[in-house]
Symmetry: C2
Subunit: 142 residues, 2 copies
Amino acid sequence: MSKKRSECPISNSLEIFGDKWSLLIIRDLIFYQKSTYGDFLKSDEKIATNILASRLLALEENGIIEKREHPDSKAKILYRLTHKGIDLLPIIFEIHLWAEKYFTIPADIQEMVNDAKKNKEVALKTIMEQLRKQLEEEVMAV
Amino acid sequence: MSKKRSECPISNSLEIFGDKWSLLIIRDLIFYQKSTYGDFLKSDEKIATNILASRLLALEENGIIEKREHPDSKAKILYRLTHKGIDLLPIIFEIHLWAEKYFTIPADIQEMVNDAKKNKEVALKTIMEQLRKQLEEEVMAV
DNA sequence: CATTTGCACTTGCAAAATGCAAGTAATTTT
DNA sequence: AAAATTACTTGCATTTTGCAAGTGCAAATG
């Protein structure tokens, strides 16, 4: 982590997730149930493997994600959002709402958020509750 | 503007403002009444002059900001957020709320948003109204 | 139980983006 | 008329990103 550019909370936040990849990894963790290195590599945007490694490390160092033992295999690593990471959901949701207004959204994605739009606050709370539950279920951090 | 990585609305959005500088320029336009090239250069984060030029151009090409004649001088250029740019306020506000939870925020900034926090929806609407009014007042785009 | 496959990375190198310092050209001020 | 402002541009060094190939351990396969 390099030195802070300023004391501005927006600036400090952007130093953590203000790049073209971090929020996509977080999106995958929240909306697509992705949780392993291989899962992230497979995303449509085709992140380079070394970039993925560096982003995962940075996100971990910044307390946004954490590594867990994978229940299926010792060869796998399970990545989970921390509470700090889960709290990024409202930001991602607002980005989605903005995008919806100015881009054409694929139907399947649109469908996924239609319910949430009806009652934003409640829907966000529900998704965040679920993510938090996941966090508590599996106890062994690696 | 390079080719889209995917159809994902989050990804498409990040291709516009997913970098370490764009949202700071937008922050300056919204919260600090900055509106000229020189204003942006003076911000605490010390953006390099060529980077500022490239970001302003990209934001303009993406319809987030627009250039206006400056009322004081022909040597100056007035940058304004478009409606599309104004609509980014909720995202920035959520980033602020997140930052508030996980960072120490300077008192002067904290004060600025305390009112807004009490009634988020209304406060955002009010700020956005003001920005829209600015947009309509000055008619001559350059 | 030896071999292949899967998984999470690392490494080396090319290309692109960023950052710094110094210009430039058109105003505007003195 | 000269100096200062303003919005940039340019050249070059540094950093980050991207691609392709490789590594080492775990697990599945013959």
